[in-house]
């Protein structure tokens, strides 16, 4: 089911592909690469498709429902333990890519091993601060934590004000469901917790600061005349790549100003992509809040640096005045769709990769046989290797497109090859 959703999602995203020559070029290059990739993996994909078809049929036969049953009156009843033999892989996959209030390593329920993380809540009576261990591994709204005279419960990694009394299943939240869609009617608390993603972000920041300040120190101590060594020799080519190929290639002569921003974005995404690849790592770059902040940053940088040409292209387009009412809103929306596409691209790419790996491993539990394991492992390994490439590729694409947007905003009109033809026509018309 979520594969279909994902597909729809992609179509949705592709409608926002900005009309841009360089981007088209990139897409063409990527399509070529995908074609080559298809050639080799055609057979593998066919086998995989077969397994998918089989799995959907089998699971349809074996588990008519998952985990819980939804009653007509809207309350939800957990199925008896014996009926829980089957596992809802999609729920696990979604949970796997979502943020969490504790850093879970392994195990289930009360036996799970996880690191507690600080929870910071802005309640009505002020700020509440406590460790996630106080919820005692509860994620179903059954354990209440009382701070500042307020009672909190956690349900599906979201924190709500608790009800006075529990429902039939000991939950202090009011659940309503319509059409299989469950919603919590309790008021949510403003949650500023140091979640798993935030923790990983802090760790990645510490790593980045340590890494690059120590590299900077190396330049200072060893001087610039000696050949780079160790970390320096790995990261210098990347830095030079970002500076020359990404920044200078897309922005042009005034690119130096934007290089620090592009470098920060590139390494922030790259490090967190790689962290996400580690089995217990958090899926930070596949979290929409993170990609949202980065793309908003790109939008701000692009627009505050936009020159006269950039704004005149939006509000005074080179077109007959009659179609201005159509064109100007499109251009204005374009200001937003560019960073929106950035946000979605990174989020969907990283999340999709993680979901596919979980799903492939989940096939073992869906089929309930160990003989599927080699296939699952082989495909998961293949996707894992692909994800290693994607980790670098997405960091590159995000940075490259950021540079491209900045470049189009600061470009001189004469340098902008896209519009010279239009300009000539306009001049000829006058």
């Amino acid at each position: 089911m979520f594969f279909l959703k994902l597909l729809n999602f992609w179509q949705f995203i592709s409608t926002f592909a900005p009309e841009n020559k360089s981007l088209n070029h990139l897409l063409r290059v990527m399509t070529n690469k995908i074609n080559i990739f298809k050639k080799f993996s055609g057979v593998a994909l066919a086998v995989f498709a077969l397994f998918l078809v089989l799995s959907s049929n089998l699971s349809a036969d074996e588990n008519p429902s998952v985990g819980e049953e939804i009653h007509a009156d809207g309350t939800i009843e957990p199925l008896p333990e014996e009926a829980k033999g089957s596992i809802d892989i999609s729920a696990i996959a979604i949970e796997h890519v979502s943020d969490a209030h504790s850093w879970h390593f392994w195990g289930e329920g009360h036996h799970s091993v996880s690191a507690p993380l600080p929870i910071i809540l802005k309640g009505n009576n002020g700020i509440a601060f406590f460790m996630s261990s106080e919820f005692d591994h509860d994620n179903e709204g059954k354990v209440i934590v009382e701070k500042n005279g307020e009672r909190f419960v956690m349900f599906e990694e979201k924190i709500y004000y608790a009800n006075e009394t529990p429902n039939a299943y000991g939950q202090y939240v009011t659940l309503t469901s319509e059409d299989k869609e469950v919603s919590v009617s309790n008021a949510a608390v403003l949650d500023f917790s140091i979640t798993k993603n935030v923790t990983q972000m802090f760790l990645s920041v510490l790593l980045l600061v340590w890494l690059f300040t120590s590299i900077a120190k190396t330049y200072k101590t060893q001087g610039v005349t000696s050949a780079p060594k160790g970390k320096q020799s790995f990261f210098e080519p990347l830095i030079v790549f970002v500076r020359d190929d990404i920044a200078k290639g897309n922005i042009g002569h005034c690119s130096d100003k934007y290089v620090p921003y592009l470098l920060t974005v590139f390494f922030m995404i790259l490090v967190n992509n790689v962290f996400g690849m580690i089995p217990i790592g958090a899926n930070l770059t596949g979290n929409i809040a993170f990609t949202l902040v980065l793309s908003v940053a790109t939008m701000i940088v692009t627009n505050i640096n936009g020159n006269k040409n950039y704004w005149s292209h939006i509000f005074l387009p080179h077109a007959p005045k009659a179609i201005w009412p159509i064109l100007i809103p499109i251009e204005v929306v374009g200001i937003l769709t560019k960073p929106f596409a950035l946000m979605m691209r990174l989020f969907a790419n990283m999340t999709a990769g993680h979901i596919i790996i979980v799903s492939l491993v989940g096939l073992i539990f869906v089929f309930k046989t160990i003989y599927i394991a080699p296939v699952s492992v082989a495909f998961a390994l293949f996707i894992d290797v692909l994800e290693c490439l994607v980790a670098f590729l997405q960091a590159y694409v995000f940075t490259m497109l950021t540079a491209l947007f900045i470049g189009s905003a600061v470009a001189d009109h004469n340098e902008d090859g896209m519009h010279t033809e239009d300009d000539e026509k306009l001049v000829a018309g006058h």
Binding site: E68, V97, S98, E181, V198, R243, L263, T264
Partner: protein, 171 residues
């Protein structure tokens, strides 16, 4: 739980994460910008400039060396030519000196010879003249003596005159 519920939470950005990401990202941007990118980029730029300069100076040095080498060769060739010239000149001078000396000695010799010859001639002439004088004196003395003896008596005088007269008649 059903998927849709959690799926919605996937696409719904969490306020807390936005808050922390914003703070962290700005902090990272400032920290790295100040303490990492600035020194690293300037160091890389300095090194690139250094390499560029080194290459350029190497190029210049090579050019200079090549120029020097060609200069050296030129100087060497010049020196060689100069030496040849000098040698040739010396030889010429030597030849000239020898020739001149030869010519000089020849003329001197000629002069000496001619003066000697002249002197010899003069001496010879003088000797001849002396001899002639003496011969003349002698002849006169002889003639005197002959005359004295011829004309010592009247008969002899008469015989002479008659002899002379005979010659005249015959003529």
């Amino acid at each position: 739980m059903t998927n849709t519920f959690i799926l919605a939470s996937l696409i719904e950005p969490a306020v807390g994460l936005i808050f922390w990401t914003t703070i962290t990202f700005i902090l990272l941007l400032v920290l790295l910008g100040k303490f990492a990118w600035k020194p690293i980029l300037s160091a890389i730029k300095t090194r690139e400039k250094g390499i560029e300069d080194a290459l350029a100076s190497a190029e210049t040095a090579l050019k200079d060396m090549r120029e020097l080498k060609s200069n050296n060769e030129k100087t060497l060739a010049e020196a060689r030519a100069e030496r040849d010239n000098l040698l040739k000149e010396a030889r010429d001078t030597k030849d000239a000196i020898i020739a001149e000396a030869k010519a000089k000695s020849q003329t001197e010799a000629d002069r000496i010879m001619s003066s000697a010859r002249e002197q010899i001639t003069n001496e010879k002439n003088a000797a001849i003249a002396e001899l002639k004088n003496q011969v003349a004196t002698l002849s006169i003395e002889i003639a005197e003596k002959i005359l004295r003896s011829e004309l010592s008596s009247d008969e002899k005088q008469k015989a002479l005159v008659s002899n002379l007269m005979k010659d005249v008649n015959l003529n």
